[in-house]
């Protein structure tokens, strides 16, 4: 193997294969920086004990953005109607509690996830054969149809006035909801961790790789015989289920829900969060949702008008200059610094 020993170092086929295998085996290993967001989340519990309700809302939005990342960031499905599934989860939990008296929280969010996932599978089967504007419009119209139907039967859903004053059983029968939302925060954090573990497994599986392939070049995936439609529907259903869980958590955290969860704004907002953080990189949703929620909390109190202008400007700047989001910027900065270290 003389060729492999030359200085230019073209790897042989065996070496390349070994390297690829090593990459495939090791890429799903946990690396230490991944602990950072979780440590920060736990630290927040001790540092801001009086802001736990807000903290739980941030965690819910992280999970929602996370569900969108799975389809947008990994499978490349552009949707402006993801609030539909968030809303289905939210209303499943609310209606189960109010109309059926089923107020056990954990089974509640699981039910929310299952219903949303089921609807996601059916809807996805119909709409995922289309792309571009048609798909975009179908997702918008689906969320809007749900919202209008909910309003039509406001005797059941409470309409835009919402269903207030929902009460839930203590988590695991042990931890009751307190006024300051401490239980809520930890409960949401554990739920997020479970969902995260699940999604991380998906993303690094061969299935996840196939999704990335579909995002990058759908024709080639068709050509190599990948069942594109089936994979898209599967991931859409999973993503819908996670959005449903997030919606269920939202209802439990706020103890009320209105039809505004189906708003176009809500779908657009979660997309903005994800884009600001960075798509297709697992932790983008964490950064994006946190930064967005904290900024919104701060600036919208100062002036909602300037906040809206700011978020618009931020979007324009991200598209023009930072297409991979804040995490992308961090990575670029890291690459730049390490290049400077070793000239």
């Amino acid at each position: 193997m003389a060729a492999s020993e030359t200085l230019t170092g073209e790897p042989t086929r065996e070496q390349a294969r070994a390297r690829a295998a090593e990459f495939l085996i090791s890429r799903h290993y946990y690396r230490w920086p991944e602990a950072v967001p979780w440590l920060i989340a736990i630290a927040c519990y001790f540092v801001f004990p009086d802001r736990m309700t807000f903290g739980s809302q941030v965690l819910v939005m992280i999970m929602f953005a996370f569900s969108l990342d799975l389809i947008l960031g990994y499978a490349g499905i552009v949707t402006l109607g993801h609030a539909a599934f968030f809303g289905i989860g939210a209303y499943t939990v609310a209606l189960a509690t109010l109309r059926l008296g089923w107020s056990e929280p954990i089974s509640g969010i699981i039910a929310g996830g299952l219903v949303a996932g089921l609807v996601g599978a059916v809807v996805g089967w119909f709409i995922l054969r289309y792309r571009g504007l048609t798909l975009l419009m179908l997702t918008i119209a689906f969320a809007a149809t749900l919202q209008e139907s909910g309003n039509l039967r406001s005797d059941i859903t409470g309409g835009y006035d919402g269903l207030p004053g929902l009460t839930f059983d203590p988590v695991l029968g042990l931890f009751d909801y307190d006024l300051y939302g401490h239980t809520n925060y930890l409960y949401a954090l554990v739920a997020l961790a479970v969902v995260f573990y699940f999604v991380r497994r998906i993303v690094y599986s061969p299935f996840g790789q196939a999704l990335t392939g579909i995002r990058e070049n759908v024709r080639r995936m068709h050509a190599i015989g990948s069942p594109v439609h089936r994979r898209l529907v599967t991931v859409y259903a999973v993503s819908a289920a996670i959005a449903g869980v997030a919606g269920g958590l939202f209802t439990q955290t706020n103890a009320y829900v209105t039809l505004t969860v189906f708003d176009f704004d809500s779908s657009a907002k979660v997309m903005v969060m994800l884009i600001v953080g960075g798509t297709g990189r697992l932790y983008g949703a964490f950064i994006g949702a946190t930064v967005y929620m904290v900024l919104e909390d701060y600036f919208s109190k100062l002036s909602p008008t300037f906040w809206q202008f700011g978020i618009g400007l931020l979007l324009v700047l991200v598209v023009l200059f930072a297409r991979r989001g804040l995490l992308g910027l961090v990575e670029d900065a890291g690459a730049y610094l390490s290049k400077r270290k070793q000239p």
Binding site: G132, L133, A141, L152, M271, G312, V319
Partner: protein, 290 residues
Amino acid sequence: MPHIANIAVSILFDGLAYAMFLFITSVGLSVTMGLMGFVNLAHGAFAMCGGFFVVTLTRSLGVAFVPSLVIASVAVGVISMPFERYLYRRLYKSTDLEQVLLTIGLAFMSIATFTYFYGPIPKSVPLPDWLEGDVNLGFRAFPSYRAFLVVLGVVLIAVLWYAFEKTNIGAKIRAAVDNRRMAESVGINVDRLFTLTFAVGSGLAALGGALAIQLFGLTPSFAVLYLVLFLIVVAVGGLGSLKGTLLAALVIGIIDTGGKYAFPVAGNLFIYAITVVVLLIKPAGFYGRE
């Protein structure tokens, strides 16, 4: 006249007026999307902009209603050009997602800007006497403003149809929608053509926004509130098709008016239901290319 027929005529007429508004506002979006495949969610912002120009012209500067419609349309058309030249053009080859984000960002910024200057309270405009009240057509009376909308809509359709089908520029646009590369290779300057189309489309949107003041009232959130409606008309009609946009505007305008009359609680449910059904059967819209 029997009661039922009377109601039917009312619904048809109001639906027609509504359809004309939808057509005028959406046609520019349809052509620009068909030409460049650019998803422009800031289209509603140009419409809103036109509406506020007319409010300022009529209320503060004392210009009459009809001349201010013309001035606002031309002004917005001119203002839209630098946006296309320096901002949109960078993203023609980008993904749908990036186009959606950029234009939604622009829409948010415009809403905030106009809220800052005009406040969030709905605005109205003073109408000339001949647009107030009813106009009698012999067998029954119709509201003058809606009659004006219908007449204006029909005139614009005729003008656009002539420009699209019979003039040199129209032929170029059709060629570019059909096959951009081929059109370029026979020497059509598609970039310049697009800037022109974009400006005309934005100007028409501004006209639609101004006409909508009397129908819905005007707030800065108009830019996003009615955007979904315009996108639906475009998607259902088929990208880049004048005929399709007109048909979609008519179907949605009339069915929505009838639906709201028969089942007021259902709101926009009919519009969304039509959209889902049409797009599932014909994903490229009535006259779009598959």
